[in-house]
Amino acid sequence: MHDEQLDHDNSAAIEHDDNLDPRLTRALETVPLPSIPADFAARVANLLPARRPVSLTPTHYGQNAILMGIFLTLAALLLLALHATGHAMFDLLESLLLAQFVALAVWFTIWRHSLR
């Protein structure tokens, strides 16, 4: 009698185990239904940090720096020319400054031209 009961339990257990996989899949695939506040999207939108506005007014920092560089180099060239001693060192320095002046002037001209 007891054996019959055990057999019955075992067959029930096997049948139960056969069903376990589809039941598990079904349970995992069950989509929960959370309650979402009606104004959730609007609330989130209100919390958004303000983005830094993009400035539409152009600045001329680069242009001013180039112009200042040109004038300083020119001033240095003139100063060196006034105190020229014929020393090789002076000549070298003057050549370097002249090259720098020409480079800045060319760069400035090209840059202005590209802005048009």
């Binding site: 257990a13 996989d21 598990l24 989509v31 989130v44 919390l47 958004l48």
Partner: protein
């Protein structure tokens, strides 16, 4: 202003997915609103770096998983390991329709569902995440791999291992319940 309106639409389109994923991953309704809010704010911060509208769900899954991980860490820190599946507000299973089942079957299904939820919370974070994304969200291996930044082979392994652990835990539970029933009957 226009950007905010557009983002509000993005939130509205994806809020269901974010809420249900967070609910399943954290296993609780506690702070669910705050967590979902955090997900969307993080999305907003990453928007300038993100390209392509099709990627928004992948991005959101990734962020939701990160937010859930932060929540698990916070809970662990608080030593609040108790997962409130039985609290008043976490009975989402109660609202699931079972139109063809009788009352006893419904109770059994509800108990089984609750057991699955409990066992799901006992899995590792990565196994739980992959199971939820695969079964609940019906994401492909490729999409899960992309969202979690893992190889597809690893996703397959974790999915298989997670399901196996769940099955074994549920089998053990059923055997224990059956034994208890037999003992009380005899």
């Amino acid at each position: 202003m226009h950007a905010d309106l557009t983002f509000e639409q993005v939130v509205r389109d994806h809020q269901d997915m974010v809420f249900r994923t967070l609910l399943r991953l954290t296993g609780s309704r506690e702070h669910l609103d705050d967590l979902a809010q955090d997900v969307f704010l993080r999305l907003y911060r990453t928007l300038p770096n993100f390209r392509g509208d099709a990627l928004i769900t992948t991005y959101l899954y990734r962020i939701a998983v990160n937010v859930a991980q932060d929540e698990w860490k916070r809970r662990r820190r608080d030593r609040n390991t108790h997962i409130s599946l039985s609290d008043d507000t976490s009975d989402w299973q109660d609202r699931l329709p079972h139109p063809d089942h009788n009352a006893e079957q419904q109770i059994q299904e509800r108990e089984f569902q609750q057991s699955v939820e409990e066992q799901l919370q006992r899995l590792s974070q990565v196994e739980r995440t992959i199971l939820v994304l695969y079964h609940q969200e019906e994401r492909s291996y490729e999409q899960i791999a992309s969202a979690l930044g893992m190889p597809i082979g690893t996703i397959r392994t974790h999915l298989h291992r997670g399901r196996k652990k769940l099955r074994e835990a549920l089998q053990q539970r059923q055997t224990k319940e059956r034994r208890t029933t037999c003992t009380t009957n005899s």
